[in-house]
Every structure is written in C-alpha cells, then in structure tokens.
Amino acid sequence: MAVATQTLPPMAVPDDDDVVTRRNLGWKKFSRHRPALIGTVVLLVFVISAVFAPLLSHYDPNAIDPVWQGTPLAPGVNGHILGTDELGRDLLTRLMYGARISLSLAVTAMFIEVVLGTIMGACAGYFGGWVDYIIMRVTDVFLSIPILPLLLVLTGIVAATSVKSSLGPVFVALIIGLLSWMTVARLVRAAFLSLREKEFAEAARAIGSRNVSIMFKHLLPNAAAPIIVQATLDVAGIIILESALSYLGFGVQPPTASWGNMLTNAQENMQIAPWAGIFPGICIFLTVLAINYMGDGLRDALDPNVE
C-alpha cells in the first residue's frame, strides 16, 4: 500500500508508540471494524486449509470409494468428518482442494482485471482527448454486454472446440478477468482526471519525467485506496460468478473440485445427501461474506474522510 509511505506531521508527544502514521491509523480504523476483523480471520482459516490441504487430510480428493459409491455417507460416519458425496469421495477433502481452485481462480481473475482496468483507466484519465474517448466507448460496450450469458457462451465455445481439460481454472480466470475490468478502469480514470492537475504531477512533468513514470510512480499510488477496496469486493463477486458458472456445468470441470461444481449434483441428491450440497454452499457464502465485510472495513480504513 503506497499511500502508507507518507507520514503525517509528528504528533505533539514524539513517543515511539504514539507516532501515528497513515499505516497504523488505517490499521486502527480497520481493527475497530469488528465484522471486517472477523471476516479476515474466517478468510485466513479458509486460505490455510486450502494451502495445507494435503497435510490436513489423508484422502485423495478425487478417489472414488468403490464400496460406498452411490451411498453417500453422513457426516461423521467411517471417519469422514463432513461425510462423502454420491461417488464416495470425502467431502471435507474436496472442500479444501476446492478452496484452492475457487480462491486462487478468484484472485487470479482479480489481478488480471485490476491490471487491465488500471492501464485502461490510467491512459484514459492521463491522456484525455481521443484516447479517453475511445477507451471509454470500449468500456461502455463491455459494460453493456451482460457478463453471465457471455461467459456461458465463451466457456461453451472452448469446451466444445477443444478437449475438456483445456477449460481449466486458469482459462476461466482469464475470461472472467478480461470481462470485468470496466469498474476499475472507471475508478482509475476518475482519480487520474483530478490527480493529473495536482502540483506534484506538474512538478514531475517539469523535471522531465516520462509519462509512464508520472502515471505509475506519481499518480497511481494516490489512486490506490479506491482500487484496493474495489479489488477486494470484486474477489467476492468473482467467487460467486465462478461458482454459478461451475454450478451450471460451464466453469471448472469435474473431477477437479471447485465449490461451484460440487453443488452441481447436489440438487438431485438433496433427498439422500443434503450435506453434499449444504457444505460447499456454506463455504461460498462464508467466504464471500467475509470478503465483503473486509472490503467494507478497508473502505473505512482507507478513506481519509472517515474518522
């Protein structure tokens, strides 16, 4: 967080603990936002269980149990803490491996979206004129195409034209990222429009800095706060989008587990194995809720107008 590098004027009592920097002021505000703090802890639990999945579980996430196939075991039976699904696979293990896919996919898509949106918005806001006009019209076009149906078509095309395995999580992340940069672009553009007129931008130009250096070294750090908040909230949105896509059978393909595709068969098996649908759903819901609260806390923490 580049905003944090600027320090406020020293306080009256220059005791080490009392020096209020923008960074620990932000952290103070964030930690006062209790839901955001709880959200961070919840998310950390999910991230840790995803990272250490092989250590935390001795089951293979894709191993079909020949004995119990077709007879899902209830939570707690035979050492399966959350039970098994209709193919006899351990649910908790699949959830942890699914978290790897769902979380990393969302973060990857978010990075693509933020980088693309920042470049687009920065160029539009900094250069103005016809560059701005063209980029904003392209933004309008992408904002007017509803993302879910378009995603369904695109993933459908790839699934049909090539082998199923190419429709990997990386590919899904790529399409989602390429189709959701518009909000970030608009945010960055709005920030750059006012920032480029500031004295420090003027000064950078006066000493002969190149455009690219002014844009990304001088202006961008000052536009970081809204981007960080938007990026956080977008991770939540992307998790929902990916899980909806995978639920409908167009996203991450089985047997690779993602939280979304674990729910695909849950509807049919609702009578005999409700847990197979409920637990993945709860994971999606809790993660998204946690991230939304974190975004809210970050908004408060990074907004200089909120005391």
Binding site: P146, G156, S243, L248, G277, N292, Y293, D296
Partner: protein, 327 residues
C-alpha cells in the same frame, strides 16, 4: 433536456452496432458454424451440409454475414431457431410471458420490501432494526442464488413443513419446479409455484436496494431543508414524503433502473434451478444445442435492455433533479 435526450439516444445506436458486431463474431467462433444442429443428423450427407452452408450464406465472409443479419434484424427477422424449428421471434414470444411473470413479481416485491426497510433503517439509525437491515444486506449480497434456492427447496419443497398446533395439522409444502401443475392449476397454484423462485430473485435486490435507500435517506434526513420543514411545524409524514422521499429516492431510481437488465440475467440461474419455462432457460438449452439464432437474439436483446435502461436512468436523474445541468 430534450436535445440531451435525443443526443443520448443517438449515441446508443453506434454502441449497439458495436456490441452486436462483437457478439456476432464471438458466436461465429462456435464449432459447427451455426449448422451444429444438423451435423449429427444421419440423413444428411457432408454434401448436404455444404449445400446448406452455401444456401444459408454461411460460406461468405464474416462481415457480409453480419450485414445480412443486421439487414434482416432491422426488418424484424431475427433468424431461425434450429432448436425449436420456429423463428427466433416466435421462440422468444412463447417464453417471454413466463419470464415477465417471474421478473415483474419479484421486482415489485423487492421494491416494496427493499425501500421500506431502507427508509425505516434510515429513520432509526443504529437501532436494532437498522443493524438488522445492514446485516441482512451483507448476508443477502453474499448468498449465491443457486445455494439459496437449494436451501429453500430442501426446506419447503423436498420434505415440506409439517407440524401440529392448536389441534390442527399444518402441512406446508411448495412446488419446486415449473410454473404451474402439469395437470393444470388455478390462480392459487400459479402463486404457489411463484413463491420460491421469486424469493430467490428478490433476495439480492432487497439486500442491495435497502442498503442503498438507507444511505441515501440518511444523507437527506440530515439536510438543512429537512430541519427547516420540521421547524415550520409540518406534520412528520409530509416532511418525510414530500421533502425526504422525493430527494432521497433520486439516486435509488438510478440504481433500480440499472439493475433491471441484470435481473433478466440473474433470472437465468433461477429459471434453470426451478425449471421455469422462461427465456433464460431457453438460452441455456440453446447453448447446449449451439442454436445460433436464439443465442444471438437473447444476447442482443439483453444488451439492448442494458443500453435502454442506462438511458432511462440518465434521463430520470435529470428529470428528478433539476439541479443537474446538461450542455
């Protein structure tokens, strides 16, 4: 204002043309090139497919095909649906009533509940109700629609709720699929089929709109003109309705207008889960069959809705708020 409205409407035309071009090129990347429906037909030889391709103009350059498509669309011909063996327009008209029934019902219900909750929360900030509304908004926005649908089906449709109280046996069970019972049904039957899908669709809207209304109303309630109105001794309801709501609703109108096209998109998942015979479900079926005409029709139709409601939101804002200047 009028010149602004006309200029904005004219700007929509190149936008829609560009969108349709992009969609057209994307859909043409589909395998089978619009003839996928015939590819598996044993009565057709490869030569037949070639002849079809030639007769339908599918062997011509993409831009020629696009302009042919555009020309026909401008004359009201949206093409042929290989899935239904009808025209695309007929296929959509058949499905539209079901989608509209679902959307309009959930739209009205979410509007009433969302705005009421938002206004009440704004009137009593930091009360129990306010905390409930804020928390509900976060939960509602974080709940994936398909999971919420699954829970509702589990609770109310799979087993239903049966209990005994006051000497009566209560049996509460709702249908989880379709728009009406297969053996025909009356009005009550239709309403019973509506309950679950409408609840799923409304959740996100109620969550978003209540939060937005609360924020906007809170801002308005603290303005000087509200204090002036109160100081003049106007009755509370007059202040709230004439001064508060009129100003507080301006940003809400924009948000609501912008959500409408996405309600159509969101209905896609809901329609799929509840086997609702609407346009969204038709789109998903068309996707499996690579029905070019239907897919193109649906995508362009929704894009038109997005552009149209963007325009409406813009104009409504200027109309509601005389302070907005156009030049």
């Amino acid at each position: 204002m009028l010149t602004y409205a006309i200029r904005r409407s004219l700007q929509a035309i190149p936008l829609l043309l560009l969108i349709s071009m992009i969609l057209f090129s994307i859909l043409h990347a589909m395998p089978g090139g619009g003839l996928a429906a015939y590819a598996g037909n044993p009565h057709l030889t490869a030569a037949d497919i070639e002849r079809l391709r030639h007769n339908l103009g599918l062997d011509r350059p993409l831009y020629v095909q696009y302009f042919n498509w555009l020309w026909r669309v401008l004359h009201g011909d949206w093409g042929w649906s290989t899935l239904n063996s009808t025209t695309v327009v007929e296929a959509f008209l058949e499905r539209l009533p079901a989608t509209l029934e679902l959307m309009i019902t959930s739209f009205i219900i979410s509007l009433i509940i969302g705005l009421t909750l938002g206004i009440l929360a704004a009137l009593r900030p930091y009360s129990a109700l306010d905390y409930f509304v804020t928390t509900f908004a976060f939960f509602g926005q974080s709940m994936p629609s398909f999971f919420f649908a699954l829970i509702l089906q589990l609770l109310f449709a799979v087993k239903g709720i049966h209990f005994q109280a006051f000497g009566y046996a209560f049996d509460f069970q709702l249908p989880s699929a379709g728009i009406i019972s297969t053996d025909g049904g009356d009005f009550v039957d239709r309403v019973r089929h509506l309950v679950l899908p409408v609840t799923v669709l409304a959740l996100l809207q109620v969550a978003t709109w209540s939060r937005f209304t609360r924020a906007s109303m809170q801002e308005v309630l603290h303005t000087d003109y509200m204090r002036t109105a109160a100081a003049k001794g106007l009755p509370f309801m007059t202040i709230l309705l004439k001064h508060g709501l009129k100003n507080g609703m301006m940003p809400v109108v924009t948000v609501v207008a912008l959500t409408i096209p996405f309600l159509v998109g969101g209905a896609l998942i809901t329609e799929q889960i509840f086997a609702w015979p609407g346009a969204g479900r038709l789109f998903i079926t068309a996707l499996g069959q690579q029905d070019f005409g239907l897919l193109m029709g649906y995508l362009v139709l929704i894009s038109i809705l997005v552009v149209f409601f963007n325009l409406i939101a813009d104009l409504a804002y200027g109309w509601l708020d005389p302070r907005v200047k156009y030049d």
